[in-house]
């Protein structure tokens, strides 16, 4: 496994938009297969640009996109081969759902791949099962809630059975319960071997969920690494305009005071809260109610 190339890789990619603004500068980033990746950066840092490059929708001005270690050919056949394996879910469901009904929209990708009706039907059913929308298959898209639309978008990509799933700001606009549900869905996909990369501007979420973090600032890929490793690098986080994730910072303070053990470091504030609650209380105040 040590020699396995990353499933997708940007190598020294530059991108300038037609209006002259810089999208990416010498950005290098590699996605190890089967892991959960978060692309973390402020608005305008170039997260969407990276995702569009990884799906071949933009073409590097300089540098290279590699798939399984091989440079991607940006011709028609090369792109079709890439997009068959790499699926991209955009941020705004209203911009990517164009069919009238759920089933019809989900079938769009498999039909374009040229499968026969039976295969398409089976894939649509499986994809809708995966996102938990089986019973909504026949509904009109515009009658769904925002969270449901988002899941239809994901189903539309899953029906193409990609090996890499890219998601642009998938948590935006979702409430806490929906976010938890979506994170669980992504975890199930990762467990099935799908490489997942999502972009976010929420450092707390990124460090709470991802295995690997890729830091982006002003079009530069400034660091990539294990979440636990990067969490201990406030210098890099600050350079990308983020603070240290609250869970890490709180844990450091509490560990310094001997309230919590030095390790394991909890990944998220709720996990830290659970760790606190699991400790025996040293003393109770009278009249104290626990939340």
């Amino acid at each position: 496994m040590v020699s396995a190339p990353p499933v997708l890789e940007l190598a020294g990619v530059d991108h300038v938009y037609p209006d002259g603004s810089t999208g990416l500068r010498d950005c290098s980033l590699a996605l190890a297969r089967g892991r959960r990746h978060a692309l973390l950066g402020a608005n305008g840092a170039g997260k969407s640009t990276v995702l569009l490059h990884l799906n071949g929708l933009l073409r590097p001005g300089a540098g290279q996109l590699r798939h399984d270690g091989q440079p991607v050919d940006h011709g028609r056949a090369g792109l079709a081969a890439l997009r068959r394996r790499v699926g991209l879910v955009f941020q705004d469901p209203d911009r990517q759902l164009f069919a009238a009904h759920v089933e019809e929209d989900v079938s769009f990708g498999p039909l374009n791949l040229g499968f026969d009706a039976g295969t398409v039907r089976a894939r649509v059913a499986a994809a809708l099962d995966a996102v938990g929308l089986r019973e909504h298959a026949g509904r009109a898209v515009h009658r769904l809630s925002f969270g449901q639309k988002k899941r239809v978008c994901i189903a539309g990509v899953l029906a193409m059975e990609p090996e890499v799933l890219l998601l642009d700001e998938p948590m935006a606009g979702l409430d806490a319960a929906m976010q938890a549900g979506l994170a669980a869905l992504l975890d199930r996909l990762a467990a099935r071997g799908v490489t997942v990369l999502l972009s976010t501007h929420d450092a707390d979420f990124a460090f709470g969920w991802a295995d690997d973090i890729h830091l982006l600032a002003a079009g530069r890929c400034i660091a990539s690494g294990r979440a636990a490793t990067l969490a201990a690098r406030p210098d890099l986080l600050h350079a990308a305009g983020h603070r240290v994730p609250l869970a890490i910072a709180l844990h450091a303070e509490l560990a310094a005071r001997g309230v919590l053990p030095q390790s394991p470091a909890p990944r998220s504030v709720p996990a830290l809260l659970d760790a606190l609650r699991a400790l025996p209380r040293q003393f109770e105040h009278p009249g104290e109610t626990t939340a």
Partner: protein, 244 residues
């Protein structure tokens, strides 16, 4: 939107639109008056030079904007000179050459005059001018809404096409037709939704039936109008001298 982008970046953006319109219309009228090819060539060259040197319109942008009309000009002139007669035989019609030459130069002169206006004046400035010239309110509202929604819908369209490409919706011509039809249908249905949302947003801001905005102020309009009138009068005098 090459023309609009160029207009926003142009050095003459801050010049009163009334002055630029006056100059452009004088140029067009002069081209209509003039007869000789030489005068027409001068009348075509003046607005081009004014746009390139005065307003610093990049030559590439000017040419890019003129490409479509120049294509039409070539095709239409060729049709006049060379085409099928009623019996279906094609032949060259050399007798029309002087008339075609004059028409082509006149078209170029009028095109140069009005392109000079379009490449230096963002459309909203023109709308403000039309409002002052008492264009019907309803027409102005249509234009104002159309202009703003143009960019919104175009962005939505581009993003939709991008999402379709990500799902291989534009692999071949069959997929492309199907995808384009689906997207156009989806966006047609969005027209109603967006109109309803805009209505609600307008109502929330005390909308009373017409869309009114405060136009941009052009403090030097009087002087600029006078200069434009002078330059326009020179063009007209040149054309009149040529005709009579």
């Amino acid at each position: 939107m090459l023309i609009e982008t160029t207009a926003c970046a142009s050095r003459w953006r801050g010049v009163a639109p009334s002055a630029k319109a006056l100059f452009a219309l004088s140029g067009a009228a002069a081209a209509w008056l003039a007869r000789s090819p030489d005068t027409l060539a001068v009348l075509a060259a003046v607005p081009v030079l004014a746009a390139l040197l005065g307003a610093r319109v990049p030559p590439r942008a000017w040419l890019g904007a003129a490409l479509a009309p120049l294509g039409f000009l070539l095709l239409a002139c060729m049709t006049l000179l060379f085409g099928p007669d009623p019996h279906g035989t094609w032949h060259w019609n050399g007798a029309l050459l002087p008339a075609v030459q004059r028409t082509a130069l006149r078209s170029l002169a009028v095109l140069a005059a009005l392109l000079g206006f379009a490449l230096t004046t963002p459309l909203p400035d023109l709308l403000a001018l039309l409002r002052r010239l008492r264009t019907p309110e309803l027409l102005l509202d249509l234009m104002a809404l159309c202009y703003r929604m143009l960019f919104v819908l175009r962005q939505a369209w581009d993003e939709g096409v991008e999402a379709q490409r990500a799902r291989l919706g534009h692999r071949g011509w069959r997929q492309r037709w199907r995808s384009t039809g689906m997207l156009a249908g989806h966006m047609a249905q969005q027209v109603w939704q967006r109109a309803a949302a805009l209505q609600m947003a307008a109502d929330a801001r005390s909308y009373a039936g017409t869309l009114r905005f405060l136009p941009a102020a052009f403090p030097h309009a009087r002087r600029q109008n006078a200069l434009a009138a002078l330059a326009g009068a020179l063009l007209l005098a040149l054309a009149a001298g040529d005709r009579w």
